[in-house]
Symmetry: C2
C-alpha cells in the first residue's frame, strides 16, 4: 500500500515538530501548527496507517507519535527540501576558513566550524595519503647514521619519519639519493609507488644498495602500509544537549566509538562518488552508534575527493539544515585546497 500525499505531509509535520520540540506530537497539536486542512480525527487515521507501515511509533499507549528510523529515512529521501544557508552562515564559513595558514590549521578550523554550525559532533579526515600524490621528498641528515625523511604531498600533508641507517653515509650520497628518489617518485600517486620504490633499490649502485633498501622499507611503511589516516574531532560537548534522552540513556557507547579512529574513518571515510551520505540510527553498522545519525560527504579540490568529513548527532536531528551545512563546508574546504 502506498501512502497518499496527505499522509506524507503528516509524516513531514511529525518529523519537523518532533525535531523542534523533542516531544511526542499529537494529532491536535499537528493540525494547530500546520495547515493540513483536515480535522484531528482524520490525522489520527493517517497516523494509524503510518504507524502500521513502521514510519512512526508511540513511546507509550497514550502519548503522541515519534518518527522511527524508517520515518526519518523517508523524510530525508522524499520529504525534505534543501534548506539554503543564510548569508550570515555563508559569511561565517568564509571568515572562519580564510586565514588558515596550514593544512593542520585548515582541518582544525573546519572541524570546529562544523561543530559550531551544526551543533553536533564534527569529524574531519585529513586528506588521505592513499589519494594523494608525492610532491616532494626530502632527506635531511641528522647525524651520519640518521636521516629524517620528509614527504610532502600535493594535498598539503607532510609526513616525516626518522630513518636509522645501517652504516654511515656521506652527505654527497644523500644528495644523490634525494635526487634519484624525487626523480622517480615526484608526481606519482602514493598508491602507485610500491613498484617504483622497489625499482629504486634494484637500480641503485651496489655500494649504496644497503642504505637504499633501508630507506625504501621506511618509505613504504610510511607511505603505504601504515598509511596513516588522521582525523580531527570537535563538539563532543554537543552530545549533552537535550539531556541524555537522545542516545537511549547513555553517552557511554557513543563516546567510546568516537575514541576509535578506525570507527570514525569507517563513518566518514568511505567516500564514493555519491555526494552525500546519511546514516540513520540502526542503519549504522557500529552497534555503539545505533542511536545516532551520521551525515557525511567527501571533499577535495574540484571534483576529486581526498577525504571525508561529517557530523554525528542524535537521530532526532535537523537533517535538511545539517545536510546543507555539511555540503557547504565541504565545498568551501575543497575550494581552499584547490588554491594551494
Amino acid at each position: 500500500m502506498s501512502l497518499d500525499d496527505r499522509k506524507l505531509e503528516v509524516l513531514r509535520a511529525i518529523v519537523e515538530d518532533y525535531v523542534a520540540t523533542q516531544e511526542p506530537v499529537g494529532s491536535k497539536a499537528l493540525v494547530e501548527r500546520h495547515q493540513l486542512g483536515v480535522s484531528p480525527a482524520t490525522v489520527r487515521n493517517d497516523m494509524a496507517v503510518l504507524e502500521e507501515e513502521g514510519y512512526i511509533r508511540q513511546p507509550h499507549t497514550s502519548a503522541g507519535r515519534v518518527p522511527t528510523d524508517l520515518g526519518y529515512r523517508l523524510f530525508v529521501d522524499r520529504l525534505s527540501r534543501v534548506k539554503p544557508l543564510s548569508p550570515a552562515e555563508r559569511r561565517a564559513i568564509e571568515r572562519f576558513l580564510d586565514g588558515a595558514v596550514d593544512l593542520d590549521d585548515v582541518v582544525h578550523r573546519t572541524v570546529r566550524l562544523l561543530a559550531q554550525l551544526t551543533r553536533q559532533v564534527a569529524v574531519v579526515q585529513y586528506p588521505s595519503l592513499a589519494r594523494s600524490a608525492v610532491r616532494h621528498l626530502e632527506l635531511v641528515p641528522i647525524s651520519t647514521t640518521r636521516i629524517m625523511l620528509v614527504m610532502i604531498a600535493d594535498t598539503g600533508r607532510v609526513e616525516q619519519r626518522l630513518v636509522e641507517l645501517p652504516t654511515p653515509v656521506p652527505a654527497d650520497d644523500i644528495t644523490e639519493m634525494r635526487r634519484k628518489v624525487n626523480e622517480k617518485l615526484a608526481g606519482q600517486k602514493l598508491s602507485d609507488t610500491p613498484p617504483l620504490v622497489a625499482a629504486l633499490v634494484d637500480e641503485s649502485a651496489p655500494e649504496r644498495r644497503n642504505t637504499m633498501a633501508t630507506l625504501a622499507s621506511v618509505l613504504l611503511e610510511t607511505l603505504v602500509e601504515r598509511s596513516e589516516e588522521r582525523l580531527a574531532l570537535a563538539g563532543t560537548a554537543n552530545l549533552t544537549r537535550g539531556g541524555v534522552l537522545d542516545f537511549h540513556g547513555s553517552l557511554r557507547p557513543v563516546l567510546e566509538a568516537l575514541e576509535e579512529e578506525v570507527i570514525l574513518l569507517k563513518l566518514i571515510g568511505e567516500v564514493e562518488p555519491s555526494t552525500m551520505r546519511v546514516r540513520i540510527g540502526d542503519e549504522n553498522e557500529i552497534d555503539n552508534l545505533r542511536s545516532a545519525s551520521v551525515v557525511s560527504t567527501g571533499y577535495g579540490p574540484g571534483a576529486t575527493i581526498v577525504g571525508g568529513l561529517g557530523v554525528l548527532g542524535p537521530t532526532r536531528m535537523d537533517y535538511p539544515g545539517t545536510i546543507a551545512t555539511v555540503r557547504a563546508v565541504a565545498r568551501y574546504v575543497g575550494d581552499l585546497l584547490a588554491q594551494n
Copy 2:
C-alpha cells in the same frame, strides 16, 4: 585545633571507603570495615569534629559522611601512602610504549595508556617548542616562489610551514640560505632565536634581504609567536563511569572545558620544578572543572622538563593509585625521549 591521630585515621577510612563504594559512609560501617578499636559512637564524635573543621560533610541530615575537597586535600597531603605499581602494570607500560616509531606515536600511545590505566581522561602535551632547541632547519623548494620550511627540534617535534616568496629565488640561493640559517640557529633554544633571526636579516646580502625578511617573519611566527602547543586527549568515555553522579549532574561543562586547548594547557602545562601537582575540585581555577580533580606532572629526558601530562577525573578518585600511575608513565616517557 589540631586533629589527633585517630581522627586522621577516621578521615582516611572515610575517603577510602567513599572512593571505593561511591556511597556516603556511616559510623557503623566504618568500624566494621576498619580496625579502629573504638565504638561507632566514638567515631561519630570524631566525625562531628571533622565536619566542623570542614573535612567532611553530610549530603543530607541523616546520611553518612562524604569527604569535602578540603578532606581530599588533607588525605593527599598527609594520609596517603604511595601505592607501588604492580609488576603487571609496569610491564603494560613498557610493552605499550616500546615500539613507538614517531613522536606522534609516542604521544598517542602514552595518552591512551594513561587513560586505560587510570580509567580517567588523559591529557598529554607534546614537547613544548618553547622548551626545545633547534636541531635542524630545512628549506625545501616547492616551486620558484614557494618553499617549505621544516623545523626539526631536539625533542623530536617537526613543524612545517609553507613560505610564499615575494620574488623567484634560484636554487643556489636557497642552499646558501639554508646553510646560513642552520649555522646561526642550530642548537639554539627556540626562546633565544628572535634576536638571532633578526641578525640573519641584517647580515644577509642586499639582493637577498627581501627574501630573507619574508623567511624570517615566517620563522618567527612558526617558532615563537604562534608557538603552537599541541595536545592529545583520550578516555573521555571514562567520564561516564559512575553515572552522572560525579561532576554534579552534568558532563556538559567538563566536556566543554576539554575542547579548549588553552584550558587543557593551563591544566597540565604549567610545569614547575615541583614533581607532582594535584588539583582538587574547587582548587581548579576553571569554573567548569570545579567538580573535577586533575593530577599532572612534567616529563622530559633526564631531569629536564619538556612538557606536561596528566589525568582528569571526579574528585572522588583513587588519588594514591592515580598519582603513582601518572608518575610512572611520565618517567617512562622521559626515558623514551632520552633515547632519541
